[in-house]
Amino acid sequence: MKASKWIWILGICLGLAGTVWGEAIKNPDTLIEAIVSNQESLDPYFQYDITSNEPCKNVYENLLAWDGASITEYLPWLATQVPSKENGLISADGRVYKFPIRQGVKFHNGNDLTPEDVEYTFKRAMIFDRAGGPSWMILEPLTGFSTIEDIVKHVAGVPYAEMFDNDGNLIPKFKDHLVKVYTDYIDPTVKVEGGSVVITLSNTYAPFLSMLPQGAAWFSILDKEWCLEVGAWDGKADTWWKYHDPKEQKDPLYDKMNGTGPYKLVKWDNGVELVLERNENYWGEKPKMKYVKILTMEEWSTRKAALLAGDVDIAIVDPQYLGQVEGQPGIRVHKGLEQLSVYMLFFNQTINTEGGNRYIGSGQLDGEGIPPDFFSDIHVRKAFAAMYDTQTLINDVQGGNAIPAFGPIVKPLIGWLPDMAEGHRFDLKKAEEEFKLAFGGRLWEKGFKLTAAYTTGRMVTKAVMDMLVYNARKINPKFKIEVQTFAWSTLLSDYLKGVYPLWGLEWNADYPDPHNMAYPILHPTGFYGAALGAAYHKWAEQHINPLLDQGLVEFDLEKRRSIYEKIGRLAEENAVILFLYQPTRIHVERTWVKGWFNNPITESTGRHFYLLNKSL
């Protein structure tokens, strides 16, 4: 008995000692971040996810950078000037951009940065164009095509895949076509002129500059000489297809890095940790932390314990867990910060019924299902929108970590609708009136039954759907919505087949321009727009597409604002999508971490460790 008492006393003393020791900075030369997933690749032109982007943006650098927290003001970075029409570095028609390249910058292996590196980088990005990767962001403005395979088909009239035999060898008769694709479409877009690089766009593309700054790893600069050494594309017109769309294990840059950035890669044990070390020869001010360690810790309890113990300096915290760390000693929580993403519920106006559809019941307006064109009736969509109580969701479900979203364009982008954001959609009386108008009154009489889909784990989307279920029944007991959860794999599959009548997903911007939100969400060929059904496409071609085209070529800020506001209002007033909310960013760190600030776009792709240090 006595012995066990002493063991307890010893335990408590050691525990207290641990607490006291915890007040000193742990691992003072290393910044440790705990994240939740694996890096896919370390090639900045292969990766297209936050986890992989984070090391890339700390090792590689771009031509420009954002000025602090701004998403409209640029700083020159590897370029020495920010192009504008005023300084003559953007042509009058907005198609030609000139970037003077900084001298005296060295890659981690000691090679000098040259304009040829920039030229090689962008051309490689275009020929590399891995399926599902980020190259479309370069191809689209520079060539007018989303993929190089589209250019091939345009030039040769034959799909790219059909140009190769079963062993993957190019059928000789297609060689000239492929060479032509390079010489006529890729090569002319980027040229070296003295100490500068000149980029020529296929058409005026107003968002182009906003795609380039530091943070977007897919515009970061590679070392041409090193790339050739490690076996990446040799820069020739008649070989490019051998380096196009490789699997990651065939990509020489998948596990190697050599940038000009403040940190260099020391170790990558994927799914375990990635270690960066300070670049002592960095051309700018040296980073303060000697090492950065990115740890993968999927399990929240473990992540939390390590953060509270001080073994982790920064941790990913989901909103539902925020209460567990907020107010804890040694922990600082930043919240309510802007980020460019929007959560939505989509109405499919022409539901696919080929081979049957279990989500629309009987498939008719008989109270036991819905017809495939159910959501093409604007009154139905407006009624659904009026059943959604934004404020309750934000306050009670999201814990205040969101702001209302009206239209596809979020705060603080131009085109965001602050006047609408102050208003409310929620009005059950209005919902009832709209339902009574739908389908000439037959809907009110017969009722409906449908299944709404959300991804497993997305409890906020589920809460929205539960809200709709409850309010619909309250308005008319014949209105039945079943809420079903699906694994991401199933949701992805059924969504692509167009079988869901109503489903929830989110969108995160790649670059801070309203085009990057409005186009994928609303354009009939955009990722989400394409899934809204033929009836929507017909409407969008008439009302949305002309405005999107105008917005893409308009440089004048006020004119662009007006265009995108029109787009937002059209989407909102016609309730083509139910825009749920814009989540606000949460950043949780130990109080000894200094220097972090929120940039709405760059923080979406991971931390920029260059700015951070640890001190009491």
Binding site: T19, N270, W488
Partner: protein, 343 residues
């Protein structure tokens, strides 16, 4: 006996084909768009809009026999494929991750076996005593606790409250040493490499990171073993030959250790031999909770991502271990109990 062993060895490929075919068939129930989720893990990655290209590139639209044939051909050539979820070849993932899992299972095995057998025997001998009742409560609790709950409680108490046993595999300072050029990773078993490098500080650090998962596994599995040993021992202690041994005037110690234990240990041996294999399987949960980058965590992540080369490679690996483990247990069983014959 020899014929039996040869027969069992010859059966191994059949079992492995069966296991992998079963997993393959299960995967085949998913359509190519579902399998696509291994390459597109969230809506944010769908912007490239080249989904059909992705399906064709990774052969997700191929038929089951076609996929199985390609996979088998590669496996026979020593290539288990590419684990998308770990971004490395499956073989490489196994090479890197298995030593950590083995290390955990190895260290946990001894306290489980020794503690389980000793306590199990003691409770049977002191049947219906306070010690026996207390142990039974302990066993029921251990057997009822879900491993992930008990693991989290261990982290909460020993790490969050006391700060003793952190999750992960090594502290930051120790991993810097291990990654340095002056340190050799001979086996990738952290404690063994630390000793081979003459670094007791790293040995202790690696051990400190092992204790949390060891406590969790020891409690849960020793509870199981105590139960088996106790009931085996109780059964034997009621046998006539034990009564005879006592009647002959043998000391209680001799009766228990020499006459009762040996026979009571036969079911224990069967369970213990397979325990190591079960423990390896349990690491899927334990390694995820304690953030140990071993095989268990690898397979758990592969399954979440529907990464079928990762799942198949991991399954194949564990299946080989299980088959070999069972074979060894059967052989030991025959050696321990000469009455057993294999036909």
């Amino acid at each position: 006996m020899t014929a039996y062993i040869i027969r069992r060895i010859l059966l191994i490929p059949v079992i492995l084909i069966g296991v992998t075919l079963f997993v393959f068939a299960l995967m085949q129930m998913l359509d190519p768009y579902q399998l696509l989720s291994a390459y597109v893990s969230s809506p944010a990655e769908l912007k490239g809009q080249n989904l059909e290209r992705l399906i064709s590139k990774y052969g997700l639209d191929k038929s089951l026999p076609e996929k199985y044939w390609t996979w088998t051909k590669n496996v026979l050539g020593g290539d288990l494929g590419w684990a998308e979820s770990a971004s490395m070849p499956v073989m490489e993932a196994i090479k890197r991750k298995f030593p950590l899992t083995f290390e955990l299972a190895f260290y946990a095995f001894f306290p489980i076996i020794l503690g389980g057998i000793w306590v199990g025997k003691a409770t049977a001998v002191k049947h219906n005593s306070v010690f026996d009742h207390a142990t039974r409560v302990f066993v029921i609790m251990g057997w009822s606790f879900p491993d992930f709950v008990f693991g989290l409680l261990v982290i909460l108490f020993f790490y969050s409250v006391l700060g003793w046993f952190p999750p992960g595999a090594l502290s930051n300072w120790a991993s810097q040493v291990v990654e340095s050029g002056d340190y050799s990773n001979y086996t990738r078993i952290l404690t063994l490499d630390a000793l081979l490098n003459g670094r007791l500080d790293i040995f202790w650090d690696a051990l400190r990171h092992l204790i949390g998962p060891i406590i969790t596994m020891t409690y849960l599995w020793s509870a199981f073993l105590i139960r088996i040993t106790r009931s085996g021992m109780l059964e034997v202690l009621r046998k006539d030959y034990i009564r005879t041994a006592r009647a002959k005037g043998l000391s209680e110690k001799t009766v228990i250790n020499k006459h009762a234990s040996k026979n009571a240990m036969i079911p224990v041996l069967t369970v213990s031999g397979r325990l190591l294999i079960y423990m390896l399987a349990e690491t899927v949960i334990i390694e995820t909770i304690f953030n140990r980058p071993g095989m268990g965590k690898f397979i758990a992540y592969a399954a979440q991502q529907l990464d079928y080369p990762g799942i198949l490679g991991g399954t194949l690996f564990f299946a080989v271990l299980l088959v070999l483990g069972n074979l060894i247990v059967d052989i030991l069983y025959a050696i321990y109990d000469p009455r057993i014959e294999y036909k």
